[in-house]
């Protein structure tokens, strides 16, 4: 009896101990930065997209995800899963040519070019529609259907989508009261016109140089008015892309099959390799990854959309076959420790926080370099024109001595608000910052309320973790959104540091008025200036995408724009 117990005990220990954990796991390329341009040559916008190496036609490509995609209606798509799924069935005015390594080119998709800045002041834009673009029933796509798609995004019933274009056209945040879609069916919102079947024209009251970027979101997808089923379009969108939805069981499965009316010659980015795409919803991240690891049956051509959970990372890296099937890439989602500057008014304290931060320790505590990569800038490296700098160089583990020096003997008492689902992150920061002389009080906030509460101007906390993922990789969709003090409201602020500096605000205006191509280096300079002069936050990390696919799945890459797997090149190995 005693021997058997001892043997069982030994077996458990051996099973756990049989392999040594060494420090040679995968790591992400942290030097990688984005290069991005807006295509000036109309040839860039022409199809067909170059063939993917080794790609073959046929097969079913499966995507396994824990929860369903919140919206399929292109005008309502805004979640990451929705944004990477939409290109399969929805074409847009512009789109990104993306090599998955950060090299981006904005090209025309339904439009012949990524837009003409008619009077060079960003107030009037024109797009010419390509020939030969068709819906799933074979009828041609014209400027009328594209304009109708944009018009229906004014409908207050169709919630969830981006609101940039609507707000710019209406020149107001209350765009749905400024122009009532339901009362004006058949008409177009103010500023949007279709002079002929091939031309769509935007006229704004103010300059909006980011329009070509904003139109790359699925909200600019076309729809014929007679196919508009209102809120029901969410279940069965009308396709303009290489695939059409043939079966949709909400929360369980989406089946996309080839759309024979899609012409590859008109499309600069998409392919039509697999016969079918199937989204399967249900398995949690561990179960999804384990299915792909097992690699049997249809899972051989599957992708686990929830990524590799950190508990499974050592298993994946320890196995050469699995390593080959994994994709690792930084994403544009950046997390920062926001400092509520209304409460922490002393600049030296904010700078000391920047010196004190132990990024290395924090990243290990949330799952290591397969989950996060350190960052010292306010814009993520995936931003066009990104320049790396470190305004408060303190090494990977922080410099408590330098922080103490700045604090000059003070021990600021700060309250760190943290969601009650990630208390460990709070305790990690607390023990980190207390080494540098801060007195940190950890306050847990119910996870579902945390976002709303920290976005309130008079929230009671000094520090909280915040994230930002821009809708397009331009500084214009990051810095003014996060740090322009003139937009601070009572609730719903993105400027959670609540900085309001006149000099910086006027810089935002100056750069926003520049031609889009010239803005990029200016944003990088402004990023550094904000950090040096205001230190409104402690940049901590960008999320890292770590995915695993089956042995027969190919062509998947992580979108440089969204940081999630893109399916435009996906194929099934035969």
């Amino acid at each position: 009896m005693r021997n058997r117990v001892a043997a069982a005990f030994a077996l458990v220990l051996v099973a756990g101990a049989c392999s040594e954990t060494t420090d040679d796991g995968p790591s992400v390329d942290q030097q990688r930065t984005a290069t991005g341009v807006i295509a000036t040559d109309p040839k860039d916008s022409l199809g067909p997209a170059p063939e993917v190496l080794g790609a073959t036609k046929g097969g079913t490509f499966t995507v396994i995800r824990e929860v369903k995609i919140s919206h399929l209606d292109p005008q309502r798509v805004y979640s990451f899963a929705g944004l990477v799924n939409a290109p399969l069935y929805a074409r847009t005015l512009t789109t990104w040519k993306d090599d998955g390594k950060g090299n981006l080119t904005l090209v025309g998709d339904l439009a012949q070019t990524p837009g003409t800045n008619v009077s060079n002041d960003c107030k009037v834009w024109e797009f010419k529609v390509k020939d030969g673009v068709k819906f799933e029933d074979g009828r041609p796509i014209t400027a009328k259907e594209i304009a109708y798609g944009i018009a229906r995004s004014f409908d207050p019933d169709l919630t969830g989508g981006p609101t940039y274009v609507q707000e710019w056209l209406a020149d107001s945040a209350d765009y749905d009261t400024k122009w009532d879609f339901k009362a004006n069916k058949g008409a177009l919102p103010p500023g949007l016109t279709t002079p002929d079947d091939k031309t769509i024209r935007f006229e704004f009251a103010k300059a909006h140089c980011d329009l070509p970027f904003a139109l790359s979101l699925p909200a600019s997808a076309p729809l014929p008015p007679d196919k508009d089923t209102g809120v029901n379009l969410d279940n069965q969108p009308f396709s303009s892309g290489p695939y059409k939805i043939t079966k949709h069981t909400p929360g369980v499965e989406i089946v996309l099959e080839r759309n024979e009316h899609w012409d590859p010659a008109t499309d600069p980015v998409r392919h039509q390799y697999p016969d079918k795409f199937v989204w399967t919803f249900g398995p949690d991240p561990n179960a999804g990854a384990n299915r792909v690891i097992a690699d049997s049956g249809p899972d051989q051509s599957a992708l686990a959309f929830n990524g590799v959970p950190s508990a499974l990372v050592s298993q994946v890296t320890g196995n050469a076959a699995l390593k080959e099937r994994s994709i690792i890439s930084p994403t544009p989602t950046e997390w920062r420790l926001s400092i509520n500057t209304q409460r922490v008014t002393d600049l030296a304290t904010r700078q000391a926080l920047n010196y004190a931060i132990d990024r290395d320790g924090f990243i290990k505590s949330i799952g290591g370099e397969t989950v996060a990569a350190p960052v010292t800038t306010l814009m993520p490296p995936a931003t066009i024109g990104y320049q790396k700098y470190d305004a408060y160089p303190a090494g990977a583990n922080g410099n408590p001595d330098k922080a103490k020096e700045l604090l000059a003997g003070k021990t600021p008492a700060l309250v760190l608000g943290v969601g009650d689902d990630v208390v460990e992150r709070g305790t990690q920061l607390k023990s980190n910052l207390e080494k540098a002389g801060f007195k940190i009080t950890l306050k847990t906030i119910p996870a579902d309320a945390k976002l709303d509460e920290t976005k309130k101007k008079d929230n009671p906390w000094d520090l909280y973790l915040d994230s930002w993922a821009a809708d397009w990789p331009s500084g214009a969709s990051i810095l003014p959104v996060l740090f322009d003090g003139r937009s601070i409201k009572a609730e719903g602020n993105s400027n959670t540091s609540y900085v309001n500096d006149d000099a910086i605000n006027s810089e935002f205006d100056r750069v926003l008025a520049m031609p889009p191509a010239d803005q990029a280096p200016e944003w990088a300079k402004l990023d550094e200036r904000i950090m040096r002069e205001l230190a409104p936050a402690v940049p901590v990390y960008v999320e890292v995408a770590y995915y695993l696919h089956g042995s027969k799945a190919g062509g998947v890459f992580v979108s440089s724009v969204f940081g999630y797997p893109s399916f435009v090149n996906a194929f099934v190995k035969q």
Binding site: V12, L13, A15, G16, A17, S19, E20, T21, T22, D23, G25, P26, S27, N286, P309, S310, A311, L312, V313, S314, Q315, T317, D360, G361, I363, K364, S365, I366, G367, G368, E369, T370, V371, V415, D420, D421, V423, E424, T427, Q428, S431, T441, L442, K443, T444, P446, P460, W461
Partner: protein
């Protein structure tokens, strides 16, 4: 502890050859039986060990040289935060390895985790026993409307859904006592946890005691005492209570492990103890995610809570056998220890 002569039973060992007849109290008899039971001795030893560890935790920390909040993140792998080395980072310095991510020492956190868990479980069991005994003995002896009212309250407490109540109470109480910028101290959460357990846990004990008292109150010794004009307090605490210690002790010893696991479950639901306070529940439920990646992290807290709960349960069983040997045969066959108590008790009353 004085049992009335009524209870003295003939199974005292027969005098060996009529020589050396020593008078032994029922307590001494039970103790002798307990010492003869190997399961009881072993499980009792394990319990004593855990109690010692819990009490001496600061001394162990001193000898071990590492505190429960010390982090060793430089000993974690860069790519996924797993401890370097073999079996979750086990080494001469870190006996049970390190926690993935935070890099805290598992051994010293277990030592302090035993302390937290045992404190909550024992306090909760004591409080529930106190409430249960008082209400049960009153209801059983007085009967009538007192019994009816206490019966209703018991039914009410049983009908309230425990988890939903706990989920609702914890944040509400926190908000009531602490402002949006105040940290909620660990002792407060511990006190609220014990309170929640006490609110719900006393019903079983109350019913058990009530049943026992009802069967005892018609006995001759009770009638005799009543005839002598004994007051209510004397009746309850001098005459009745001493006859109830056996089932109460058994029930208590079985309640403690239930609270250990109950507290662990509540921590998982975010309404119990929170990180960074060392605690079994937090450790086990955090470790479940690493079952595949770092089994050692699951193994040590798991095996410890298993040993602790098993030792309590076995000891409770053995204690019942020792206090009431007539139940030994049937109790060993009875499946759940909790049900066994009642079976033994009713038999005793017959």
């Amino acid at each position: 502890m004085s049992l009335s002569t009524e209870i003295a039973r003939p199974e005292a060992p027969p005098p060996p050859n009529g020589i050396d007849i020593a008078g032994r109290s029922p307590g001494q008899l039970a103790w002798a039986r307990l010492r003869r039971d190997r399961v009881a001795v072993i499980s009792g030893g394990v319990l004593a060990f855990f109690l010692l560890v819990a009490i001496l935790a600061p001394l162990i920390e001193l000898a071990y040289g590492i505190g429960p909040y010390d982090q060793f993140q430089e000993k974690l792998r860069r790519s996924d935060g797993m401890p370097l080395g073999y079996a979750g980072g086990i080494s001469g310095e870190h006996w049970f390895g390190l926690e993935p991510g935070s890099g805290r020492d598992i051994f010293i956190r277990l030592v302090y985790g035993i302390r937290t868990s045992l404190l909550i479980a024992v306090m909760a069991a004591l409080l529930t026993s106190l409430i249960g005994i008082t209400l049960g003995i009153l209801a059983g002896y007085l009967g009538g409307w007192v019994d009816a009212v206490i019966g209703w309250i018991t039914d009410l407490a049983l009908a309230l859904p425990f988890l939903i109540f706990a989920l609702a109470v914890m944040p509400t109480v926190e908000l009531r006592f602490y402002g949006p910028r105040d940290e909620v101290p660990t002792w407060f959460r511990v006190a609220v946890l014990i309170g929640i357990f006490a609110t719900f846990g006393w019903t079983g004990m109350a019913r058990l005691v009530r049943g026992q008292v009802i069967s005892l109150r018609e006995r001759e010794f009770v009638e005799a005492a009543r005839a002598c004009g004994a007051g209510l307090g004397h009746m309850l605490f001098r005459q009745l209570l001493p006859n109830l210690w056996a089932p109460i002790l058994v029930s208590f010893s079985l309640a403690v492990p239930a609270y250990v696991t109950g507290e662990a479950a509540l921590s998982f639901l975010n309404i119990g103890i929170r990180d960074p306070t060392p605690d079994f529940g937090v450790m086990i439920f955090r470790s479940i995610d690493y079952l595949q990646g770092d089994p050692a992290y699951v193994f040590f807290p798991g095996i410890t809570i298993f040993a602790l709960v098993l030792a309590f349960n076995l000891f409770g069983d053995a204690l019942r056998d020792a206090l009431d040997p007539r139940s030994a045969m049937s109790a060993r066959a009875a499946p759940p220890p909790g049900g066994g108590v009642d079976a033994a008790a009713t038999k005793d009353a017959r």
